[in-house]
Symmetry: C2
Subunit: 495 residues, 2 copies
């Protein structure tokens, strides 16, 4: 697969000098267009044993283009804040905004590759990680991130020479960390095994969205021109919108549908007497306090999502959960319109940034499900976009679960009549914070569309690790106890 | 000073039950107004040995108000990302956005207090830290942050009882960390010394902007009602804009002025031959590479600011510096219009977020000096605001310097004629990225106002630790070498 490495790719100095000024101009023009359009970002990652070449190439690119809008990352050792969160968190936080370019000199590939190489992952675990990468990259592609995955190839003999030079500590304009040196040496020692692994990884992750781009880098001039031209063409391409094929399949057309809606199976008449409620509230809150303060929760975390009909009582429910928690380990994230920094990132970015560290609890008041609820019903998101969201959300929640985060999702359901009663009541009370707006009435008129969206959402995203619980919320007291009990039962089972 | 602790502050259950519903309603209304206005944030910090009471009080406040817009912090041990930066960085990143409330159960007071208590700071160092705090809080007050500093007081005897209960590990709904326990015990052992220190600290940091609010907290009901009422009144007060007195002094009126401008002292005719330039560039870039890759730079950092006339060549200068640096340790921050997340924070927040960790370099292309340059000249900032900026900026840069960050600031000066030539040239070349806009011509017409602003800026913010260097930039080659040399000489002196 990597045989081409041995082939000669040489560019003479004269040829290079003739080509370089033109390329430089084209690159900086392309970069400026990217910045001006603000619709896409570019993530270039470089994999390969040629550690010097990787850095040198990044430097060359930054010198050709305007370095103010490019950022290079080398993330050898995660910080403790990163270690405290699912492994993809550190890459999410490093993603460039739309209009910008990020160069990842180390990326989501190094971890699985070295873990497999060192035998820390068995075949099945490794394949799961590779699969996760493919889904992550597909999502990025759909979200306007132009991925460029360069694979730097160098004949082993030449690589050895570089390694020796490095070991001596040359005058290179960058640092090679101890960890990098160590890894390189280990790889070099078992070169065949590494090549085999890399070959397999590259094969499995060369997707239509993000193919690998092998670059023979024995010749510096060939390497740099190739990288430069690829970046130029990729920017031009993504600005023309040619990079991503939108999914065409529409489950609505072929998934057999009945008229049964999960919501219609609920018995909304369930209720609780106030005395009974008070006793149970006290009991369940105490239980929750004990569970999250226990030793076993220390290296876990809890993420709960509250969605529901307008006026179904999300706030009141959240309040009862929070009362049982240490405020220092708890955060509530109310999801409203995204900030402009959030809009400049892939959709899930604004949720990833709030993922709690170990030992903490984050409660989302509305969530990433906005895309398949309000954005779907109100047509804020195009159909292909909310359609792919189901799978992306499943992957996202699976990543949280894999790290030990306990994910729970609640849909608070009231019926149309009860919602009307609450709207009218709120209009009467007139507390500003409970104001019923024209938008609430408008949403209400789309009751059936929302019900359909909720049904699809529950059906497609309720998983073993991140289940939906439907809460009969016509009676507020009943709902609160059911939420607390559900959380406690799950925590008890998990811890 | 704390004698009132011993006095009885008791509120009966009946009295509490009568007052509580009204207070709750007022608090949540006030909170909603705060959120809707979006002009101020509230930072409530609680200091005091009563660790249980501090947490309980925060919890009560969050339960009265809408907890979705309140966040509690307890920052006992800094993360490694925090340890890698100046000490105030972790508080800056934790500041609530406008409209929100932050409760700091541990704050910028604990560090200096315990360091002094343990003898890790001598009297002079300690006073410098206290002074830093006062300036920080004054700045917050001016920037729309309503500070509430609660001092929780409890008779020693009662405190001992609480401590004993804690030691046994009660059923409290929060955790007391090992570190907190240790500190508490040490404090308790030397109670008199602690009281003396606290008394002094409170005296020195009770400013008009942020007075301490002593709360006798032996009685839970008294404590909670007092805190609740104070928060309510403070929100009402800051929304009416009564909290901050704008500075009235106007240096323009009493500082003796001559017609001498620092810019007029420059010899802009200085230039460099291309051959000479090439040789020196190579030499200075090599020197820079060596300096920042050296062992001694590992626990330092470099922050450079580039300001200058339009078309003075900031970009080209930055590029020459960057060429000598490892891209993985370097970030360039182009300062443009603030994002909405940045607008919801004190002015300096958007610069603090980019302060590099140890061993790294951050280059600001335009900077926090915008406030005393473009914002002053274009009247985007009110006079009292840009006037206080000089002092705030000095404090900011001093904090960086105290941590070992090397701060350097460059003003690239061209004369009016040279600028005209470059504008015309750019219009001819027509590269989009160099487009000369109507705004550039408009700025040019305000040449003298800018010159005056630059003079004041240099005069008021050029300090030993963060000096301005004026760069004669009519000749681009001369400018680039002078910038590189200045950086290198400073690094050599510092490392």
């Amino acid at each position: 697969m990597f045989d081409s490495v041995e082939a000669t790719h040489e560019i003479s100095k004269a040829e290079y000098d003739a080509a370089e000024p033109k390329l430089r101009g084209e690159l900086i023009d392309a970069q400026f267009d990217l910045l001006e359009a603000g619709t896409n970002s570019v993530v270039a990652l470089i994999l390969g044993m040629d550690v010097l070449g990787r850095s040198a190439s990044a430097k060359q690119l930054m010198s050709w283009m305007d370095p103010r809008h490019i950022r290079a990352f080398a993330m050898v050792r995660p910080s403790d804040e990163e270690r405290d969160r699912p492994r993809m968190w550190r890459y999410w936080r490093a993603l460039p905004r739309k209009g910008r370019i990020g160069i990842f000199l180390s990326s989501w590939y190094e971890g699985p590759l070295s873990d497999r190489f060192m035998g820390r992952l068995d075949k099945a675990q490794y394949m799961a990680r590779v699969d996760e990468i493919c889904r992550f990259e597909e999502m990025l592609a759909h979200e306007g991130v132009q991925l460029l995955k360069f694979l730097f190839l160098m004949p082993p003999k030449q690589n050895l020479k570089v390694m020796k030079k490095l070991a001596k500590g040359g005058a290179a304009a960058w640092k090679v960390s101890d960890l990098e040196m160590e890894t390189m040496k280990a790889y070099y020692k078992h070169n065949d095994r590494m090549l085999e692994l890399a070959e397999e990884l590259v094969g499995r992750t060369s997707t239509v969205h993000a193919p690998w781009i092998p670059v023979a880098c024995a010749d510096r001039r060939y390497r740099d021109l190739t990288v430069g031209r690829t970046v130029r063409d990729a920017i031009r391409g993504c600005l023309k919108g040619v990079s991503v094929a939108k999914p065409k399949a529409d489950p609505d057309e072929w998934v057999p549908r009945t008229d049964i809606n999960v919501l219609s199976t609920l018995d909304l008449s369930q209720s609780l007497e106030r005395d009974d409620y008070k006793a149970q509230l006290k009991k369940e809150q105490k239980r929750l306090t004990k569970l999250v303060l226990g030793k076993k929760f220390e290296n876990r975390a809890l993420v709960t999502v509250f969605e529901g009909n307008d006026a179904a009582g999300k706030g009141g429910n959240i309040r009862r959960v929070v009362q049982a928690l240490d405020p220092r380990m708890t955060r509530i994230i109310p999801i409203a319109a995204p900030s402009d920094e959030e809009k400049a990132q892939p959709y899930l970015w604004r949720f990833w940034r709030h993922i709690p560290p170990q030992g903490h609890v984050t409660i989302f008041d509305r969530s990433w499900y906005g895309r398949v609820l309000v954005e779907r019903v109100e047509k804020f998101a195009a159909k292909p976009d909310w359609m792919r969201a189901y799978g992306e959300i499943r992957s996202f929640e699976q990543e949280l679960a894999d790290y030990g985060i306990i994910v729970m999702k609640f849909w608070l359901a009231v019926d149309k009549k009860e919602q009307y009663r609450r709207f009218k009541e709120r209009e009467k009370v007139g507390y500003k914070r409970y104001k019923i707006t024209e938008e609430d009435w408008r949403n209400r008129r789309k009751w059936n569309s929302y019900a359909k969206a909720v049904h699809d959402m529950v059906e497609r995203t309720s998983t073993k690790n991140a289940p939906w619980t439907l809460i009969e919320a016509n009676d507020k007291l009943f709902a609160r106890i059911k939420v607390l009990k559900t959380i406690n039962d799950r925590l008890e089972a998990e811890l």
